[in-house]
């Protein structure tokens, strides 16, 4: 329980007043000589237990009445949110509002989790208006903003819905920084969140760090969590995993990898509306499981310039995850630069790249010494089959990848301690028998070794490997041999990615040179690297770079004002086109367990209120009426107790002494 007038509580000793008055009254007795003592003793003995009980009740009622009066004057606040702990109003109330995309899930008709949280918190915060500083830290901007009028919280742009993710540890850190920078006194931190695990990141070291910082503060800090962790019963989500524009002669098409998720068991056909450059169409998809990867193509015909579109699901509990936006760039020529110390292997790569680009000049073959003067401006892929680059060369390769280009490193045949972005080559191995090394596991869903458009698996199982070179470093393994050694690994660097492949298309190494594996692999790497050459980007909401934030972005998908930093959609700024979608973590259904959430706040005073408890009630409210009526009830009870007993009507009055008669 919190009090708006806590200084009144200094009067709590006054509750002893009735007891003191009673004791003084007893001490003020007057002496009386008495003859009829035997009746007095007898009457006292008979009345003692009842009288004592009545006196005790009278005292209790009076004491409680004074207590109720004091509590009434102190203007208490109570409710499930505040609990019943006695405390004064804090110096500052920091409201940490999760306004990530998942918070737009409806909890009741026309009310989302975010709206529910705002309603409850603004009502609770209104009680502190004037007594405490109210500061809002929202998940999208994480900039502390003082609120003057708590009831207007719902209308604030800082509390509006976004398509961003929430970073709860960062929000807590922002709250801590605010307390320190502003030298705040006692504080309450109210967190409103749906406990989505991807937002909370319970394993993140920052969490422990910020909680220990809070517990180290000299002032009293109490954390209250409004957990809106109700899971939806029927919700669909759509997200674009990959978009590739592929040219076929004069024609081109868009190839999509789309992830669909549902929380229901229904297997009805799902109508998906597709919008491409303003033209709408509908496609039926049947989901055979709760999550599904859907591949889809859109024909662009002879169109050569850029465009945009979106996939849209029917409306459901969360409108925020029903749309996935995409943008595509114009046709670009796919060109590769091959740096090879071995001319034979280099030729394999040159042929493969030229076959993909349908241009014999598409691949430029260079020796490592020539790389320094090579022009990489129009290149989308760098194939490196030589000792790993060092010094300025390594820096140039790194910049190329960071700009969105692709790079793949093939073995040079010699072990070296030279690393590139933490990865280096180990020893070279040759198979002891004729069977050689065999690939048993590779990623067929996405990446260079994914299935073909027609759904055929690349013949990696039939490819023979006689020689390979080990690689050392922390990379994602896309394919591995039967003994666990990696064949192909990938690592993100800036906007692009670089790969390490353990074998060569040379006959001495493998049969990769036959083509069925190498050509599609190079083709996909070329296409992935073409992002470097395009003015189109896929961005997650909330992750717009600082440089891009300075630009003026115009929404293409909506006539209403949208913010490219926070809202999903397609935006144009000059020649640049960006498709902003919610971060993939927002579609993750995993919710943090309440016990786990509680354990995260060990060391600070913590209280949690789950949304099931908040559907109908306000988080808290002034409860002075309860104490006022309680006091009145106690006073009425006390007045009944002090009423004199029933008149002794039933008592037999002794008959007057009657005159005796003389015996005869």
């Amino acid at each position: 329980m919190t009090f708006l007038q806590p200084f009144i509580l200094f009067g709590l000793p006054l509750i002893l007043l009735p007891v003191i008055i009673h004791l003084i009254n007893r001490m003020r007795h007057r002496p009386q000589q008495w003859a009829a003592m035997r009746f007095l003793i007898s009457a006292t003995r008979a009345s003692t237990s009842h009288a004592k009980l009545r006196q005790f009740l009278i005292l209790l009622f009076r004491t409680l009445a004074v207590l109720m009066l004091l509590l009434f004057l102190a203007r208490p606040l109570a409710g499930g949110w505040m609990g019943w702990m006695l405390s004064p109003a804090p110096d500052v109330v920091l409201i940490l509002l999760d306004r990530s995309a998942s918070m737009e899930m409806q909890v009741s008709e026309n009310t989302t989790k975010r709206e529910q949280a705002i309603k409850l918190i603004s009502e609770a915060a209104a009680q502190f208006q004037g007594a405490s500083h109210l500061v809002l830290i929202d998940s999208a901007l994480r900039t502390p903003q003082e609120i003057v009028n708590a009831s207007a919280l719902n209308g604030l742009s800082l509390a509006a819905p976004t398509d961003t993710a929430a970073d709860i540890p960062a929000m807590l850190q922002a709250a801590f920084n605010y307390l320190v920078e502003n030298r705040a006194g006692s504080a309450e931190i109210w967190i409103a969140s749906d406990l989505q695990r991807s937002n909370w990141q319970p394993d993140d070291a920052r969490f422990k760090s910020v909680i220990s910082q809070f517990s180290g503060l000299p002032q009293r800090v109490r954390v209250r969590l409004l957990a809106l962790n109700q899971t939806p019963e029927n919700n669909l989500a759509i997200a674009i995993q990959d978009t590739v524009r592929r040219g076929k002669g004069d024609q081109s098409e868009l190839q999509f990898v789309v992830d669909l998720q549902t929380s229901s068991e229904s297997k009805d056909a799902l109508p998906i509306q597709t919008v491409l450059d303003g033209a709408s169409s509908e496609t039926q998809v049947t989901m055979d499981s709760q999550s599904m990867r859907w591949r889809y193509k859109l024909d662009l015909g002879e169109k050569r310039d850029s465009g945009w579109g979106k996939f849209q699901l029917p409306s459901d509990l969360n409108a925020q995850d029903n749309t996935a936006y995409f943008a595509y760039g114009g046709n670009v020529k796919l060109r590769a630069t091959i740096v090879s110390a071995d001319r034979v292997s280099g030729k394999f790569f040159q042929i493969a790249a030229a076959a993909v680009a349908n241009d014999k000049d598409a691949a430029q073959l260079l020796s490592p010494a020539e790389f320094g003067s090579a022009n990489l401006e129009d290149r989308s892929l760098l194939i490196w089959q030589a000792p790993l680059p060092t010094g300025p060369e390594a820096e140039r390769v790194q910049n190329f990848v960071e700009q969105g280009g692709g790079a793949i490193f093939f073995p040079s045949g010699n072990a070296s301690s030279q690393t590139f972005a933490g990865v280096n080559w180990g020893k070279s191995e040759t198979a002891e028998d004729e069977k050689g090394f065999h690939l048993v596991k590779w990623n067929e869903e996405e990446g260079p070794l994914a299935k073909t458009d027609e759904g055929f698996t690349l013949p990696l199982g039939q490819t023979e490997f006689q020689r390979r070179q080990q690689m050392r470093g922390q990379q994602a393994v896309l394919a591995s041999f039967d003994d666990g050694e990696p064949f192909l690994t990938r690592q993100n660097l800036g906007k692009g990615q670089f790969y390490f492949c353990a074998s060569l298309p040379d006959e001495e190494w493998s049969t990769l040179g036959d083509g069925p594996v190498l050509v599609p692999m190079i083709q996909r790497l070329l296409q992935a690297g073409s992002k470097r050459l395009q003015q189109v980007a896929f961005i997650h909401a909330g992750e717009l770079s600082l440089a891009d934030q300075q630009r003026q972005w115009t929404s293409l998908d909506s006539s209403t004002q949208k913010n490219a930093r926070l809202d999903a959609g397609v935006y144009r700024s000059g020649d640049r086109l960006i498709a902003v979608n919610r971060p993939p973590g927002e579609d993750e259904p995993e919710i943090l367990d309440v016990n786990e959430a509680t354990s995260l706040f060990e060391g600070v005073s913590f209280q949690m209120l789950q949304d099931k408890q908040t559907q109908t009630d306000a988080l808290q409210g002034e409860v002075w009426r309860f104490f006022l009526f309680g006091m009145l009830a106690l006073l009425i009870g006390e007045s009944f107790l002090i009423l004199p007993g029933k008149p002794a009507a039933k008592q037999e009055r002794p008959a007057p002494a009657r005159k005796t008669e003389v015996a005869a």
Binding site: H29, Q32, A35, M37, Q55, A664
Partner: protein, 297 residues
Amino acid sequence: MNSLLDSQVLARLMGQPLLARLAMEGTVSGQHKSPHRGSSVEFAEYRNYTPGDDIRRLDWRVFGRTDKFFMKEFEAETNLRCYFVLDCSASMNFVGKNERRFDFARRLIAMLAYLVIHQGDAAGLICVGEKIVSEIPPKRNPAHLQNIFQILEGVEPKGETGLIPVLHELAEKVRRRALIIVISDFFCDPAELMSAFQHLRFQKHDLAAFHLLDRAELDFKFDRPVRFADMESDFNMVTEPAVIRDRYLEQLNGFLELLRRGCNEFNADYRRVITDESYEKVLADFLIARAKLASAA
């Protein structure tokens, strides 16, 4: 005139003698009935002559008409011996809103003693504290009054009451029928008190009991806690009178009813007197009631 006496009250009461309800055994003739036949003017009965009878009492007229000897007998009238028993225990010191209980009792005894002696009867006094404090045997001599008054003025109540054993002792000691008037608050065991009354009545004494009570004892009205100190011991207690008033009155009224019934049963003349009443009225009522009963007998 003694300070205990009021001449005007006495003058008004002198016309009404104090009569015994029962036959008394006096030493001289008086105005009270005697259990024996005597020579008064009051005809009693006829009986057959038996040898040895005094022939002066033969009714010759009856003999003339019937030729038989009949003895004509008359009521004997004798004087009264009256014992006043005054309770001198500390509880008689009680002072309520009116006169001290003991003073009221002394005044009653003084007035009655005066009336008794002046009508030719004998009056004696026994003062009882824890035991007999002082005792004057009954005498008819008017000078005897002074002795009674002296003792009444000199005695002061103190200690516990020894009334009950003294009454038993009195019942045994006074062999001839007498009027015994007990004046007390009777705050003792009612059963034992009734036993003492029964003993007195068994010895054929005429018994009158003045039960003196104060208005405060009967009403028990106090508005705040009171420390009650027992007048006959060191015991005291603090209590809220308002809380126990009902119980107290219940107990007291039960006791009074018990006394009333007991006195009725043993034919004792029980008089409950509240000390704010006029003692003249108390005495007048007492004398008149007794006179009516005596004449009716």
